[in-house]
């Protein structure tokens, strides 16, 4: 079809015109052209924009290192006690991305067992981030639950 398709933005009652083509496939609706970007995610409130994580991983760092769940991550490299690299499926445009970490010494509980434990992650290259876990006095340690989310 060559006429414009009216699209209602997901976050409100404003409308804008999309001029691309629509293909009603057997199971999927696909489009070509450029859809107008939503001003906010439908779950967000307020006027500040929302940005999703571009990569994330939850992996076990004690015993047999295992990846529990992830997106946009091809692997985790176990380098040594408390030292890892998280490798991205799709690289970032630059190394100005932000790494947000979490950890838990054990899978159950938390609280006081995590006192004096710290996870630090920084960009290494556009395609991987360092991820290290420490105890007091900058001693590298293994912890069970390691969490990393990356934003850009």
């Amino acid at each position: 079809m060559d006429s414009g398709l009216m699209v209602t933005k997901v976050n409100g009652n404003s409308t804008s015109t999309f001029g691309g083509d629509v293909d009603l496939g057997a199971n999927n609706l696909t489009t070509t052209g450029t859809l107008p970007a939503p001003d906010a995610l439908s779950t967000a409130s307020g006027s500040a924009p929302s940005y999703s994580a571009r990569a994330w991983v939850n992996f076990q760092g004690s015993g047999t290192v295992t990846i529990r769940a992830s997106e946009n991550v091809t692997s985790v490299t176990d380098l040594a006690v408390g030292r890892y690299e998280v490798n991205f499926t799709n690289a970032f445009a630059d190394v100005n991305y932000v790494c947000v970490t979490g950890l838990n010494l054990n899978t159950a509980g938390g609280g006081s067992v995590n006192y004096n434990r710290m996870a630090v992650s920084n960009p290494a290259t556009t395609s991987k981030a360092y991820y290290n876990t420490f105890s007091t006095n900058a001693v590298l340690i293994d912890v069970n639950v390691n969490q990393l989310a990356v934003f850009r």
Binding site: F59, T64, I67, V73, T74, S75, A80
Partner: protein, 57 residues
């Protein structure tokens, strides 16, 4: 994922790559020029007491 990719780091210790989806996709994460081996997860010790002393023979 029951496979791992191992290679020897510049300091002589072993790095273990844990793939999320497939070994084939994770091969890009081996540093350029490094010899690597694909092993079963059962070949990697689960006791990490001496993790920093692991070597590959």
């Amino acid at each position: 994922m029951d496979k791992r990719i191992v290679y020897t780091q510049d300091d002589g210790t072993v790095a273990v790559i844990v793939p999320t989806v497939s070994v084939e996709l994770a091969l890009k994460d081996v540093p350029t020029g490094k010899e690597y081996h694909i092993v079963d997860v059962s070949e990697v010790p689960s006791d990490r007491t001496f993790r920093d002393a692991w070597t590959w023979e």
